[in-house]
């Protein structure tokens, strides 16, 4: 490790970090070179975010050395990290919800007008607004949302604001922990262009993602981690997805989605003439028992809105839902659950886990009746067995099932919510982006659990931006464009090209 090498901007040696019951990092070393994109990959709970938080001053390392431009430093807090030229987009949402986009972007480094020789500093709202607008315009064509509290905007817009915030800092290293998880294709491409531009200016980027294909578009080198340890660092030209995966998981797994043939039964869900002014137009579809039905479409085409409308999370102006051939009035997600329809939402942070409760409580929460004996008494053992089973199958990395969900890594939190919905065993399960933020090994297990569910006579509706995943699993695929279902493909007809043709409005 040539520390004197002036190509090396940051060098970590022997970093160790322990949490109660978990060795999150064990003797990890890493070099960041000037102007490179370094991809940090590893399974959920491998220690990627922990490493990043140490570099960003949010956690303090137990052991090891950090050198920035050759100088040994102890990073004290977030301010210190910023001063060292490190700017970070974190995996979890980090905006102050009641502040506006402008206020958030400039939080902690406001621009002032100085009066009385600098003794009174009045915020220069105008300049901060202009600067934010400039950044923002790169992602969106309009600027209408800059003065609204960010809590009123969606997850996606919040993500863009976080990115804008990190990019507005003059940094020599920008760290991104799964920045694209909530992004639409368009913003994703803009972000990639940004990253390439940063590179050209000599800025280094540390990039964490489970989307290996996406990483090959960007990364110069891969830094592979497993169970808190550094496994290998390889140059992007000298490796491929299969090799990375086997280094990440330490065992062979098949990336291939094996589609099981399951007998297709009666119709279990039918949606008729769903309308939501300006959002959804005359949506009709059905799902049969044993079927996995996919919805494809670009971001903003109304996929999430469709599934939310079906379970009564959003109001509709007209439309009807039939379950097992009988009409069912669904006005709230509660009604949907009663009718036997479960939705795994896209935005799991907002609608998902109770982070102060344990893993096992979270998994059994939505179907608490199934772990009750004689109605009221909790079958503690049954609950723990069920939870342990899911923990094992999904590879949820946690010291025990009693651990609070708050202390799990981002991807492992996702898995807990996934387990919760799989355990409810409804008639129809709706998945909105089921595998976002989930590592390769667990993805396969999610697919297996889905297959198991339809084998038992359930029906699945799934929205996914991952086309290979969607095509690999679905029996039929509906394509959405501007709030309408514009085409239906059978499994054999669907190809990436012709799905994209309809999704982008090519048929019109």
């Amino acid at each position: 490790m040539a520390v004197e090498d002036d190509h090396v901007l940051i060098s970590l040696t022997g970093i160790t970090k322990e949490f109660p019951g978990v060795k999150a990092l064990e003797n990890v070393s890493l070099d960041v070179r000037k102007g490179e994109v370094l991809a940090l990959v590893g399974e959920n709970g491998a220690g990627k975010s922990t490493l990043i938080k140490i570099l960003s001053g949010l956690y303090h390392k137990d052991n090891g050395e950090i050198r920035v431009r050759g100088k040994s430093v102890e990073i004290q807090d977030a301010r210190h990290a910023q001063e060292l030229g490190i700017s970070t987009i974190f995996q979890e949402p980090t905006l102050a919800p009641h502040l506006t986009a402008v206020e958030n972007v400039y939080l902690g480094r406001e621009i002032y007008h100085s009066y009385f020789g600098g003794t009174v500093k009045i915020l220069n709202e105008k300049e901060m607004y202009q600067e934010t607008e400039k950044l923002y315009r790169n992602f969106f064509s309009t600027v209408e949302d800059l003065k609204r509290p960010v809590i009123e905007l969606g997850a996606l817009k919040n993500r863009v604001i976080e990115i804008a915030k990190a990019l507005s800092v003059k940094a020599s290293v920008v760290i991104m922990d799964e920045p694209t998880a909530a992004l639409a294709e368009h913003e994703r491409e803009v972000l990639f262009d940004f990253i390439r531009a940063l590179k050209e200016q000599g800025v280094s980027v540390i990039y964490v993602s489970h989307h290996l294909k996406e990483l090959f578009l960007l990364a110069d080198r891969f830094h592979v981690m497993r169970d808190g340890k550094h496994i290998a660092t390889v140059s992007a030209d000298e490796t491929d997805i299969d090799q990375l995966v086997s280094m990440m998981v330490g065992r062979e797994i098949s990336n291939f989605i094996a589609k099981e043939t399951v007998p297709i039964g009666e119709e279990s869900l039918r949606v008729i003439g769903l309308n939501q002014p300006g959002v959804l137009k005359n949506i009709n579809f059905h799902i049969k028992k044993g079927e996995i039905v996919g919805i494809a479409g670009l971001a903003g085409s109304g996929r999430t809105e469709t599934v939310r409308a079906v379970v009564g999370a959003d109001r509709i102006s007209s439309g009807a839902v039939e379950v097992d051939g009988k009409p069912f009035r669904i006005q709230s997600p509660r009604d949907a659950i009663r009718a036997g329809i479960g939705l795994l939402p896209e935005n799991r942070k907002l609608h998902g886990a109770l982070i102060e409760m344990s893993v096992s409580n979270n998994i059994t929460l939505a179907s608490i009746k199934r772990v009750l004996s004689k109605k009221f008494v909790l079958k503690k053992k049954a609950e723990l067995d069920i939870a342990s089973d899911y923990v094992q199958r999904l590879g949820i990395k946690t010291p025990t099932v009693h651990q609070k969900v708050r202390f799990l890594s981002g991807g492992n939190q996702q898995k807990v919510i996934l387990a919760k919905w799989l355990f409810t065993k409804p008639k129809v399960l709706i998945f909105d982006e089921p595998t976002i933020g989930i590592d390769v090994g667990a993805k396969v297990e999610v697919y297996n659990l889905m297959a198991e569910f339809v084998r038992g006579g359930g029906g699945i509706l799934m929205v996914s931006s991952d086309l290979p995943e969607l095509m690999g699993l679905s029996d039929r695929i509906y394509v959405m464009h501007k709030g309408e279902f514009v085409h239906e493909f059978s499994r054999d007809e669907a190809t990436e090209e012709n799905i994209m043709y309809y999704a982008s409005g090519g048929h019109q």
Binding site: D77, R79, L99, L107, K121, K126
Partner: protein, 333 residues
């Protein structure tokens, strides 16, 4: 949106930047107007120059405390010790004046004491990790106890000098000095709250501590400053009160913390943090004292006062929730 032009955007931006009149504030003005109209019919003495100025003067002490409270509440905290700080700092000024200490020094010492007590609040909250409620509750009780011991339960008296008297009873253009102080404080604090870094960071802190920490702001220091500010403001109120009352009894300022919280909540500041308005707080204090005044004029049993004020607080908390609920309903259907 594109052809709307940047000028429009800036104008809107500047509007937001100036007095932020939102619907809730407008509601408060309407409530205030309604009280004035109704009362002017019910009592001939109500709508007089003297009476209205008196209401303002009575409201000014709690209003000043409530300004500090608005800052604290905006961080998601609470400061229950302000009533006691008010008492003990007023006592400090009185005691020093009684010892023939220069007025300016006596006042400065009282204010400094307030800052120190506030900072101690901030330290116990941040360093000992106590909840603001517990830390300031303890401080409230301790300070009150100290004041009893210090005075020996006998009020401080005979400390008045003519210059000190002006603070509580003097008038500028016919307006009582405490009212002037409240107005000046409102303007200064409004700038601090809306147009300076400090206020911005406080609102952010109440909104999400994590966000503030990640933005590289020293969270503990910020909290300590907020409680120190609240202590300073409470001390100022205490000095004014000591001058106004001409005696400092050990009960001085007792219960003011609750009235200050009530004024802030009526004014539209959220107990959960992240949202607050100083203008609303001022209106809240005025409404509170106007109702007291009205009941006084109509010879209502003073015990009823507490009950009525309790209901008003309930109403103030319920209105935004109901409004949000109705709005959500309309939007969804």
């Amino acid at each position: 949106m594109e052809n709307k032009g940047l000028e429009t955007v800036y104008r809107e931006n500047n509007f937001r930047f100036s007095l932020k009149i939102d619907r809730y504030l407008l509601g408060l003005f309407i409530v205030l107007g309604a009280i004035i109209v109704v009362m002017s019919f019910l009592s001939a003495n109500f709508l007089t120059h003297t009476n209205l100025l008196n209401v303002l003067q009575q409201a000014s002490f709690v209003m000043i405390l409530a300004f500090g409270m608005t800052f604290v509440l905006s961080t998601g905290g609470i400061d229950l010790s302000v009533g006691s700080i008010c008492g003990i700092c007023g006592g400090m000024a009185a005691w020093l004046l009684n010892k023939d200490v220069n007025v300016a020094i006596a006042i400065a010492a009282a204010l400094l004491l307030g800052v120190i007590i506030g900072a101690v609040n901030g330290l116990t909250i941040t360093k000992l990790n106590l909840s603001p409620f517990m830390a300031t509750l303890a401080m409230m009780i301790i300070l009150r106890g100290i004041l009893y011991v210090w005075t020996g339960a006998i009020p401080f008296r005979s400390y008045m000098t003519s210059s000190f008297q002006f603070l509580g009873s003097g008038r500028i253009f016919g307006v009582q000095f405490p009212v002037i102080v409240a107005i000046v404080l409102l303007v200064v604090l409004l700038i601090l709250y809306r147009k300076m870094k400090f206020g911005r960071h406080i609102l952010a802190l109440g909104s999400s501590e994590e966000a503030v920490r990640i933005s590289g702001i020293k969270v503990d220091m910020l909290r300590i400053k907020v409680y120190a500010l609240s202590g300073l403001i409470a001390a100022a109120a205490g000095v004014l009160l000591a001058s106004r009352l001409a005696t400092v009894n050990p009960e001085m300022g007792k219960g003011y913390e609750l009235e200050a919280i009530a004024a802030a909540i009526i004014g539209g500041t959220a107990l959960t943090g992240g949202k607050g308005t100083l203008v609303g707080t001022a209106l809240g204090a005025i409404i509170l004292f106007m109702i007291k005044n009205a009941m006084n004029l109509k010879n209502v049993n003073p015990y009823w006062e507490t009950i009525v004020i309790g209901f008003i607080i309930l109403l103030a908390v319920a209105v935004p929730i109901l409004a949000g609920y109705i709005k959500g309903r309309v939007k969804n259907s």
